[in-house]
Symmetry: C2
Subunit: 471 residues, 2 copies
């Protein structure tokens, strides 16, 4: 039978055979975006520094804000106790600059996590080298304003010499090698530098306006495994490799940018799961450089701020949230070995936290995910997962309902109503579950709170990718 | 290439191919046991009632205590909110009889879970029919003394007529069909009736003695998927399909039997994971029928009791615990698609609960389990899992050490020491991970408490089994 995978990826030493449906191609999700749609005042690139073995493949990304206004920065970082060196460095940079930063440097292929003292030195070296590029742009010395991200294998040291020469290759005087720019191609190169097992670059842009004034929002992110983020603001307690950044040319005060990002991340990146494993590196960064904002008559820059202008702030926060959801869903669609995109909606919960806990548990159940892969409408596993975690008030089985909701707009299929199993039309159930997109809806009947989670199925390909990730 | 699986199990409609190492055969773990090693005063059998499609395969098991002494009974049930009907019935029987029960009826192939009112009626019908067998044995009417267990697909009703005629086939007057007995073959038939995706019957027996008096202990259980039990005593709060029973001919007071079983289950069945999913049916039952116990001069039966004889009780509790661990480990060894048996030891924790939480998280990590399947010593994933959950006190990465411990007694391989990665001999790491048995040891450096967990790897075969379980 024809394999969709290169022969080299097959375990030669293994000796029993599984045949599987092909993993649907996701590359159509990568679309060109007109240059004018990208936020003003940023230059970017992605190059091959040599972290990854395959020549020419981007593994180093650089993003610089060239705005004359100070650039606000906010971030949400993994709550994993083993925060990677780039996470610790980025947190410190944000703290010391009071929420200002103007550059992002990212490498893929090596996570620089659990790398001890050497790892910290390497992360700082990446930041300093990128600061030098910033100084050339802005022509005056600053404290470190670079945020660092890494993704890839844990427990290995960075090939730091290669990375540093890669960064230096983008200096102003290096006119030949320098590829920093603001065209679609430049944004695309940067987006590619984030990727590990992803099958396409995840780049999106949109515009929004506050009182007639138009701003641009662009973002990029990556997955595609160890995806079950639990990220909080720099001050967050310890606990979730997902990397992403969202850039805007609006001016936003640092505190309001952080408040908006924290709100957005909880409802987007913290509500997706590919395999239920939290990474040591998860980082989402937002930059707002004010390049599109107007100064008032006094020349003072009017920043979007929750205190000064609640309505304006709310418009921004909601745009940021819906944009973050778009980026987060791309990660699930491109989840390792994913053949399904599943929305898990939990309703009628006593609290948002309870709804979120149940949605998360269903989204991470190996039995639910393998059933989805097999297109087996085994809804009993959804119930077992729902009932397996304690909530703020006990579940009453006689109040619980479960249904499959087709995404083609056709009638939902009730599977369980108030604890009583329906006479399920298995043919219809199989029809719904055969679709690539599907919604599982659980009604707890305990309250009025709801939460959504986005997950994928569990396939042979997931096992293949992760059984042999480092080789 | 030769497949170890019947052709019929291959997804015909699928069109890409994976080759895998064969799943090692586990059938050698099923060994004959001399009849005299089994506890006295029990008759058992396992028959084909017709729940399972394959003719002749046992799907109904019956265990009766024929001891003249009252039989003490204790149980730990799933904490899943969606407790299956047989769980609810068994709880009620134990409550109403003050910890006395003399029969167990079990079916495999259908879990009778999430089956509403009909499910409760069916479970009670199974209990009543088995009570009738008891009356024949003991020749005097009793309140219901039968505990019920079911395992299989969730959300489908039992073929109750087939099951009831199966139970009736064992009545005294039915001399031809009746197969109830106390030989190894009878115990083996009963053990087979528990099985679903298990590849061998899990039956063990041992003797122990208190002050020179010898008692017998026998038990049987089953997995092999939806295995991440969290069971508590009947009074326990709500929260895990694992079925098992442990039978002894010692006399133990009901309260002490429950106390000992709860202690044993926490350190055995509640410390294993195949796929991280908790079932609606998990049940472990212990019966103590006193058939081997001596009465004192007054003719009063001396029961093992924590208050009356703490030393005697402790001997019994420890025997029960180590026996329960043996039975629990068999479930992991036969885990769906398992090619590895992995012991996760977490040491230096502030509390047993913290150590247990970390061990559980590592044992359920899809990334750790796929790496084990791929025999990739990707220890970074162990760290990521360790750091992903909040503990009673925050983890200090600089105090954490991780090592692979070979089970052949050769020197352990340190991977991380006090947060600093070791220069790992990858060849040696691969050697250790290539073995079927392996121990992962994590030292947190936060205290002196420890816990062990037993888990298996995550293979293509696991996905195959669960992608197509019901068809």
């Amino acid at each position: 039978m024809a394999s969709i995978f290169p022969k080299t990826t097959i375990f030669k030493r293994f000796s029993s055979t599984f045949t599987s449906k092909p993993i649907p191609s996701k590359t159509h999700l990568h679309k060109p975006i007109p240059d004018v749609a990208f936020p003003q005042g940023y230059v970017l690139t992605g190059i091959h520094a040599g972290v990854k073995k395959v020549p020419g493949v981007q593994d180093l990304g650089i993003i610089l804000s060239t705005s004359i206004h100070p650039t606000s920065a906010a971030a949400c970082f993994t709550r994993n106790a083993f925060k990677a060196a780039p996470v610790l460095v980025s947190q410190q940079v944000l703290d010391e600059n009071g929420g200002r930063a103007r550059a992002i440097v990212v490498n893929s292929g090596c996570a620089n996590a659990v790398t001890g003292k050497q790892g910290m030195e390497d992360a700082w070296a990446m930041a300093k080298a990128t600061d030098t590029l910033l100084e050339q742009e802005s022509r005056h010395k600053k404290t470190s304003e670079t945020l660092v991200m890494s993704t890839g294998v844990i427990g290995q040291n960075l090939p730091i010499t290669k990375i540093l020469s890669g960064i230096e290759s983008q200096s102003l005087n290096n006119t030949e090698a320098r590829t920093l720019g603001s065209t679609f191609e430049a944004w695309e190169r940067a987006a590619k530098a984030f990727l590990t097992t992803d099958t396409f670059p995840k780049l999106r842009a949109r515009t929004f306006s506050i009182r007639g004034k138009e701003y641009r929002l662009a973002g990029m992110d990556k997955g595609a495994g160890m995806i079950h983020p639990n990220m909080g603001p720099p001050s967050g307690q310890l606990h979730a490799t997902l990397l992403g950044c969202i850039l805007t040319d609006a001016a936003v005060s640092p505190t309001s940018l952080q408040t908006a990002l924290t709100y957005a991340v909880e409802r987007s990146f913290n509500s997706i799961s590919v395999d239920g494993d939290m990474s040591t590196n998860d980082t989402i960064v937002a930059l707002a450089n004010g390049a599109a904002s107007v100064s008032d008559s006094s020349g003072w820059l009017q920043e979007i701020d929750e205190q000064v202008d609640p309505e304006g702030y709310e418009v921004f926060r909601n745009e940021l949230t819906s944009f973050a959801i778009d980026l987060a869903q791309l990660v699930v669609r491109d989840g390792e070995g994913a053949t399904k995109f599943v929305t898990v909606s939990v309703e009628g919960a006593p609290s948002y936290e309870d709804a979120h806990k149940v949605a998360s548990r269903i989204s991470t159940s190996a039995l639910v995910k393998t059933a989805l892969f097999g297109e087996d409408a085994n809804w009993g596993r959804i119930l077992a997962a729902t009932g397996s975690i304690p909530l703020s008030q006990p579940i009453d089985p006689t109040k619980v309902s479960v249904s499959f909701v087709p995404t083609d707009g056709s009638t939902p299929l009730p599977l369980l109503v108030n604890g009583e199993p329906e006479k399920v039309d298995e043919a219809r159930a199989s029809e719904i579950i055969a679709a690539e997109d599907l919604e599982i809806r659980v009604e707890l009947g305990l309250g009025s709170e709801a939460a959504k989670y986005w997950t994928c199925d569990f396939s042979y390909e997931y096992v293949r990718i992760n059984g042999d990730y480092r080789t």
